[in-house]
Amino acid sequence: MSALPKHVESIHPALWLGAQLARGTGRTVDTGYAALSAELPGGGWPLSALVELLVQQPGVGEFRLLQPALQQVCKRPVALLQAPHTPNAQALAYLGLPVDKVLRVRAPKTADALWSAEQILRTGSCGALLFWQQHIRSDALRRLHLAAQSSETLFVLVRPLACAPDASPAALRLGLRPAAGGLVVDVIKRRGPTRDESIAVTLQPSPILLSPYGRIRRHSPAPTVARGIPSAVVA
């Protein structure tokens, strides 16, 4: 059993086992987190498809989860549509995104937001589109999914975790919950077998440890040398 699947795969690319992940037909972008990439069809975030991230609240780490992928696609502009709060450009620069490539679009009405998303996707000039929306109807979702297929854009829709039971045409749906040092990712939907266990992802950079003034938390099993103020700061 252990060697067989690999062997079967190597015979012909059209051969696969039912327990395997679907072979991605489209392009993907590596997530940058090996544990997560291994669980996604094609080994990364799919391009030209609707990807849903379901979060409890903004600020659980969804941006840092996407950051390695955004760094790969940020040769083209990255659009932030209907961001829940003011995006901090300094933080985006700290995460390695070129500041001049970031575009922020606010839409006063839901209809405007959906229209903007569709226009951005249809033009296809943006490398990534991150879209935050609380309520969205399933026909609008289908429309966006269709628009995403016509472009080579990483399209991520961030919705509340409460939408998880609803049906969605998205190619990939992940639920995100905060955890110590990062996130716990639940795979709600993917192309391939279901996965019940959640995936723990340690996010980089952590908000605490990378502060130049940061100190190791008291209960963390970290080496004691890192305790206290770094010597560079003292000197």
């Binding site: 300094q90 033009t123 943006c126």
Partner: protein, 457 residues
Amino acid sequence: MLERDKVLIADARAREAGVRLGMKRGGVLTLAPQALLYDRDTLKEADLLHAVAFALLQFSPMVALCAEETVLVDVSASLRLFGGVLRICHQIRATVRTLGVSGFMCVAPTGQGAWLLARRGRRRALKMSSLERHLNGLPFSAVPEIRPFADWFEGLGCSALSDIRRLPRAGLKKRCGAGMLDSMDRAYGLSPELYEWLELPLTFRARVELPDRVEHAEAILFSARRLIVQMCGWLSAQQLALTHATLILEHERGRDAVEPTTLEIALAEPTWKEGHLVRLLKERLGRVELAAAVLAVSLTATKVQPAEPPSDSLFPEPGGTPEDHNRLLELLTARLGAENVLRPALTADHRPEHANRWVPVHADTKSAGVPAELPRPVWLLDEPVRLLIKQHRPFYGSPLRLVSTGERIESGWFDGGSTARDYFVAEADDKSCYWIFRERPSATSEEVVWYLHGLFG
């Protein structure tokens, strides 16, 4: 339609009622009292013909206005660009229809031949031989130079052009003058043709009166589109691209004169394409509130620049060109407003809410450099949220635990927004992190107040 009090054109319903061409005004009103009578306005007709000619400049720079409401376009050099005779015919027909004009179109190897065929309905003759066959069948009255001698030719037993061509040339030249033979020779391709091609004005300004008073901005789009089609013709004939245009909506005069509404259309990416301009205008018109009903629309090309030829790179970029992106930004700005399509412009300031500044995409503001290695949360709250204090600890959903040392930001004494804050990273029970700050106790109050300012996305 009347000319000198005689019916010139009558539509199908009028003809059913018994109205005949050449009838007097009184006769028409007796037969059909509810008929709408219009007087012929030759000036307006000439304007319309001019508008058609301008719109057709898209297809060829050689456009001439000819006698009897005909526009002649020399497309022989444009055939390959537009993909053949059929395609160019379809496109010309669509353009003419956009202007709200109906007409016959015909194609022939000679200009005069095409003109003659167009007088008799739609036909396409691509070879000299087929043109000759079609022309031979035409009644001789189609040629304007023959009409004065119509009775004489009828007396000779001629009815078609071929009959006249069989007559001896020398005699014809003596009796009817050289003009008639020249005209026929031009049609049959026996002598060269000369036309006065349309001369282009250096600036573009067009105005159209609406058929009725219009109260919805969207309804203006149809008329505005007519103007845009003309402007696109003018632009492409001169190989210019538009960067700035003004659309003026003239209002009905009520008791007080109403200032005309002016829509400025500024383009970041110069264009001469009709589709993009119409889409842009549609979004703009959707947002306009009209002060009064609109009577006329005029369009002026305010700024133009030479058009750049399209690049022919072998492998196009997957994301489209930068021009596409600029067009997208224009479209978004047109619908959402400039204040909603933003780009970051950092300022050199220690206070995070001042350092993080977003400006409209097309603003000229320069961005300051990015400070290296400065950890900041991705989300900043517009207004810091004051946190509850429970058991001497800030509380946001659950008690918050400080997990970093403080970062003191004390600045703003120079512009009145003086702040003195200690920022900390705090962790809630569910392990999510928050960026909170403590107002430093001042001389006036000793109370410690905690605020939530950022979220680590």
